[in-house]
């Protein structure tokens, strides 16, 4: 009998070690999540081996989906358009938890301490806070009602002090939330703020305005000064073109002395001096910029464009502020994500069903990975960056 028990015991040990060997120990600091929005799936990719690890299905509506990561880089939080908030375990490649927290949503953020997930919602307009581990609701902040409907919330970012800052599209406000319940409201900031960003040090929150020229700036070191308009009239004499795709400010470019911002309704990137927030130069581009992303080296800025110009990428040289190269990237360039130290950039080519990996020395494609209508690409280094 004892012998039987010993044999069974050894069998169990052998089987469990097999399970361990099946999934070898690994880190998650070099992983990426790629959104495949049409079929509501994600790909988990290894950016060191430049390969796809696994596809996971079942995310509802992933149009305009975005991702933030837990500070241990093990979990990805995926924000879907349909109000879906999913927590994915990147190690086991499984959905750990998934909730539908609203009817219509537009992205989210994770708090400075990593304990709280915030989601910005269109319907019902507002922000909801969740415990990052269990996705249990902590707070529900309703946005200002306009004509019987809560204002849509955009441009939600995390801020120092375990805070969050976000903009209200319909009511033209910026709200700063600290500790789940201390809310500071800045009203009449401008017409239709469409997106927001926070500088990497967490000091300035900038919101782009759709309904008028320019941006709004909030200095979180001096909140008593309120919000101020920047670049209000840089293009007042130029006709504004139809905007076929809203630019994104998240993932925007900042170098030593300048911000690079998309000129909404214009074929240009704005070079803005960090000291005085004035436009230093208007860099003419191939189309209306959507993403303006600086390499981690700050040497180059990569720009993609709204339809019908979403087939090319332009590279701006940070030394000369000139376009140094135009790449025929393929149809439907949607997103670009640099690796943490910038040796490569991953580019989603939606209409050609692939993600191209560019070497940033030669600016040439070194590998293509098949993906179904890929859109956003999110690497786990974001876990340790304010505002991402």
């Amino acid at each position: 009998m004892t012998r039987v028990i010993t044999v069974i015991g050894m069998l169990i040990i052998t089987l469990s070690s097999c399970a361990v060997y099946k999934q070898p120990l690994r880190g998650t600091g070099d992983l990426a999540v790629i959104i495949e929005r049409e079929q509501a799936s994600i790909l988990i990719a290894d950016t060191s081996r430049q390969s796809i690890i696994k596809r996971i299905n079942g995310f509802g509506d992933l149009s305009h989906a975005s991702v933030v990561f837990s500070r241990d880089q093990r979990y990805a939080y995926i924000f879907g358009r349909d109000g879906g908030l999913s927590k994915v375990d990147l190690l086991t490649q499984r959905i750990d938890k998934r909730i539908i927290q609203a009817g219509n949503s537009i992205g989210g953020a994770i708090s400075q301490d990593g304990k709280t997930i915030a989601v910005s919602n269109y319907d019902p307009g507002g922000v909801k806070l969740f415990d990052a581990q269990k996705l249990e609701i902590i707070a529900d902040i309703a946005a200002t009602p306009i004509a019987g409907k809560n204002s849509k919330v955009v441009g939600l970012v995390d801020a120092p002090g375990n805070g969050f800052v976000f903009s209200l599209w319909d009511s033209g406000e910026i709200w700063h939330l600290i500790d789940h319940d201390q809310l500071t409201k800045y009203s009449h900031v401008g017409i239709n703020p469409y997106d927001g960003l926070i500088t990497a040090n967490g000091r300035y929150y900038l919101a782009g305005l759709f309904g008028e020229d320019g941006l709004v700036k909030l200095d979180l070191w001096h909140p008593e000064q309120g919000v101020s308009h920047i670049l209000p009239d840089y293009a007042k004499d130029d006709p504004k073109m139809p905007v076929y795709k809203m630019p994104h400010l998240e993932g925007w470019a900042s170098t030593e002395n300048y911000f690079y911002l998309p000129g909404i309704g214009h074929h240009e990137v704005l070079l803005v001096n960090k000291q005085d927030f004035l436009v230093s130069r208007r860099i003419k581009t191939y189309g209306q910029p959507v993403f303006v992303m600086a390499s981690p080296t700050e040497r180059e800025i990569w720009v993609n464009f709204a339809p019908p110009n979403n087939d090319k990428i332009q590279i701006i040289d940070a030394n000369t502020h000139q376009i140094s190269k135009t790449l025929d990237a393929g149809k439907g360039v949607l997103h670009m994500e640099f690796t943490p130290r910038g040796e490569a950039v991953w580019v989603s080519i939606r209409d050609e069903n692939r993600v191209d990996i560019y070497d940033t020395q030669c600016n040439c494609v070194i590998k293509s990975l098949p993906a179904h209508k890929p859109s956003g690409i999110f690497m786990t280094y974001r876990a340790h960056r304010i505002g991402l």
């Binding site: 929005r37 049409e38 509506d61 992933l62 149009s63 305009h64 358009r81 349909d82 219509n104 537009i106 269109y122 319907d123 849509k152 955009v154 599209w169 239709n192 469409y194 759709f210 139809p242 905007v243 076929y244 795709k245 809203m246 339809p307 019908p308 439907g332 939606r350 209409d351 209508k373």
Partner: protein, 97 residues
Amino acid sequence: MAILFSISLQPQAQLTESKQQQLDNLLKHDCGSCHGINRNGGLGPSLLVSDMEKYSLESLAAVILNGLPGTAMPPWSDLISAEEARYLANRLKSTQD
């Protein structure tokens, strides 16, 4: 009745299959970036078939071509023809996928 039927199909009949696919892709992904890939809405309103009942095909096509001033809906007339706009309007009114 047969005549009416053929007239309503006419705008699509003149577009090649590959053009129709392009427009379907545009509807799903580019219109979808504001209205949702499943047309459930987003920054722009939802465009479900049930939402479209109250609009005529021609008025929908006109909104697509001319946009809605004062909102984020741009005029698409630089990129698509009147016939293509009618195709999209017809898709909005008739199909949900």
